[in-house]
Chain length 338, copies 2
Amino acid sequence: MLSDFSDLSTFRTLLGAAHGPDAAANAAAQERNSQLTKPPRALGRLEDLAIWYGGWRGTGRPEILAPQVIVFAGNHGVTAQGVSAFPAEVTVQMVANFEHGGAAINQLARAAGAKMDVHALDLDRPTADFTQSPAMNDADCLAALQTGWRAVDENADLLVVGEMGIGNTTAAAAICAALYGGDVADWTGRGTGVDDAGLQVKTRVVAEGVALHTQTPHDGIDILARLGGREVAAMAGAIAAARSRNIPVILDGFICCAAAACLQEISKGALDHTVAGHQSAEAAHSVLLQKLGKEPLLSLGLRLGEGSGGALAINILKSAVACHSGMATFAEAGVSDS
Amino acid sequence: MLSDFSDLSTFRTLLGAAHGPDAAANAAAQERNSQLTKPPRALGRLEDLAIWYGGWRGTGRPEILAPQVIVFAGNHGVTAQGVSAFPAEVTVQMVANFEHGGAAINQLARAAGAKMDVHALDLDRPTADFTQSPAMNDADCLAALQTGWRAVDENADLLVVGEMGIGNTTAAAAICAALYGGDVADWTGRGTGVDDAGLQVKTRVVAEGVALHTQTPHDGIDILARLGGREVAAMAGAIAAARSRNIPVILDGFICCAAAACLQEISKGALDHTVAGHQSAEAAHSVLLQKLGKEPLLSLGLRLGEGSGGALAINILKSAVACHSGMATFAEAGVSDS
């Protein structure tokens, strides 16, 4: 069992201390790729994905056998401000839907051959309204990070984290505005579908939260606590756990990437084990992906959350690894290589 | 068994006579989609794909159980002109690689849960060099179309067609230039990787072929015969068979789309049952997709052929259909829908 953490400063230290990919495995994967029966670079990004995956897994000929999808759910006090098109009860209703197998993420995880777990975090105890006080105190944030960290299977070889939480695109917009600055309106989108009036309210609420919580010194974890939510912190904890255990992660949409951004603010290499699964239709997601330096694998107009875009991309990575490890070399197949 | 054809003019007639999707099934799929536990449009293009697929399969709640990938191989007399980075022997060597399971398409078909078939068309009898005479006479073109038509499984519910044929991006470029006009250089790319000198030769060869074979009246099938190849015609035959049997098709890259373009030239709705699986790195493919009015599902820099980009997209379509048919409705899940 890898070291856990019992306070936020230990979590910060763990983030910076994680090892990188295995250089020898990376080189072996690169060498193998150059011998496969195809013209050089003919599999495009699939080649890069397989080599990257092999490096993190410590082998030149990797397999993906145990992908895990984890959906975290949390409730947000800021919904009292009228920032969402759906009522807050929907969070708990959707958790039941996940547990009964009826949501999009259930179908997508199954189609990807992934195990799916659901963690509901204190749904009857919403975070505080961040226009009034920090969404979470340090103890609440720590507990959520630990939930995420511990939710990652010991034997998982690929991870997708998703979320459900009415109001959480508001939290994600506030996190991004606090981390990166810029016009708050550029970070604030329609989420599940607020109308023009709702969008105005949402933008004002985000601006108030950012103004209130960036007056005092802060780093990515402070921002996560003050403006995020339990499910957002849990995603960050799970992504960090995967980094510690060399488990590659496929990032989902805007909220997942906002959680990830808090980690990168603490440690520059904290997301080296991640790829962007997709570009969401939530407008700010493409800007956020640029900030993270990630090019999405898919861009199909999804804006659902739940981990849906990340799960949809699992089969792309599986296919890349299947080509890399399953194809014959020129020598094995007796094919002329020029 | 659906009607076959014994001459090219019957084939032309069959193309125009095929039925469209089932309007009632389409409406039922649209209605179901509106009730699923997600915000409206939150699954983006996945929603459109599932509804489209349901319409073609005649049901509001479709499944994908029997996808088929067919790889056709042919040899091209035009390789004598030095248009490819690889020698013509590679075609037959790669067919052996397909048969032994060592090629990229074998891994991709398996990862997509698809059956894979390989049809080598008279590899020891290359088509004629189209700078000298038509690549195929009518009898050869008919035989190749029939091979493709008959290769489609009776019970397939999704089709990808791919190809192997050293020299066939030259044929595809010539087809496109003949069908759509424009600067021949804009249709001519590096294929498996010719250098600058090779690209110059290839462009001149394409220009000569187009000039020679567009002097007399011609339609899409004439162009297919005069400038295409056996595997290109077989792909066209298979796509047409799928149209007749309401089997949706995921188009692959430049060569597959050039084959498809010949059908569309004959009958405007000939490709209504197709989606573009990906945008290839072969530069002219994006232009060709625009001509066909198709937006690609993936754009990952692949330029391999074999059906690789189409096969990679099978899991996208499967995931779309799995969400559509497997998700709970708001009523079933007891989730508030606003």
